[in-house]
Point group: C2
Chain length 214, copies 2
């Protein structure tokens, strides 16, 4: 059965999922990349994202590999697609952070307050949805068919979907990092009341993995 | 060298160290005991706290055992000592949660806004400090001599000592539990700016242990 998933969502020991002061230079915020130090060396990241035949195997890699299995469509918040804010420039040349071959290989629905034409890069098509998170979910489910919908982030997007009760399963990777400041994932949110119970604990090499389900 | 430590401080995946609605019936708040499910079965808890010769061995037990080593004095917040609030009743019969043989075996300094006479149970003496966290620390250090001072909790006491820069090392045990509500440990606190850097990651059987140092 098709599910709505979040995977490989890295969070610091103090609960932050991105550092402060996001910019073109710091797309994950200052010190944000440290959250993903468990992910970057994995074979999955090296092959799937960088196209290099190398990388570590083990629990962290298994969790990374699993995150790409059976995904039929993605949903991203605007800030995961672009550093720009506000209306899209005419003939915007920004096509995302991922170069000519984005690692999605399916339809990607980008939440935005501003309309923009869909475009295709290799086997990934980016669509821009301006009528809200439920509308984006409907379009993503229709596109994914029997496969799962994966919500990529960022924090604000995940929080909106959690609060709307639209996420079935979420994999969190707690990194041994203290950020101190940045975007907090769970602040002010009662996950227990939202129906998420006993997390599954999976110790990895560079992070600790938890899977929470409704 | 004598250090100031926090040990075995259990925190939920969503950052809470106690459940909501503390009371005599729920000293750790509602569902608070679930945070300590990694600790209760250990040989250390069973022998040191319950006086039973039984219990599990392994990483969780090692972390629990380590927490009692080389401790020369303790500091506790009022709420860790008693469920009552406000001025102490005359001839208060409440002697703590631990029965006739408290598991401290040294001087324990209880932070309080209200004076109360010291008293001794077995080899533990409880003192009540009304002139602030620095004063309690000075008295605890003097009592501990070359050994360490351990701050037991709760969250508010730990937060005050962290913000005052008076904690050298803190061991956090992240439990695979979502509380949703309760007392949050790190909310609004910038541990990185306070000098705590790369946490040490120690996977356990029932929780994941992190040691942060300045």
């Amino acid at each position: 059965m098709s599910r709505v998933r979040v995977n490989c969502f890295s969070v610091s020991l103090d609960g932050f999922v991105a550092g402060p002061n996001q910019s073109l230079e710091h797309p994950l915020g200052e010190r944000g990349p440290e959250l993903h130090n468990w992910f970057f060396p994995t074979e999955t990241f090296q092959t799937t994202v960088l196209g290099q035949e190398r990388g570590s195997t083990g629990v962290d890699n298994d969790m990374a590999a699993r995150s790409f299995h059976n995904v039929g469509a993605w949903i991203l918040g605007r800030n995961m697609f672009a550093h720009s804010r506000g209306a899209w420039p005419a003939n915007d040349e920004w096509k995302g952070w991922w170069g000519d071959t984005p690692p999605y290989h399916c339809d990607v629905f980008v939440l935005s307050h501003y309309p923009r034409e869909s475009f295709t890069l290799a086997d990934t098509t980016f669509h821009f949805v301006t009528d809200g998170i439920e509308a984006a979910m409907e379009r993503a489910k229709a596109s994914a068919k029997a496969k799962d919908v994966r919500i990529g982030g960022g924090a604000s997007t995940i929080r909106q979907y959690l609060q709307a009760g639209l996420i079935d399963e979420m994999h969190i990777a707690v990194s041994p990092v203290l950020l101190g400041r940045g975007e907090h994932l769970f602040s002010g949110m009662d996950l227990y009341a939202l129906g998420f119970k006993s997390p599954e604990l999976i110790p990895g090499e560079g992070a600790t993995h938890y899977i929470i389900r409704r």
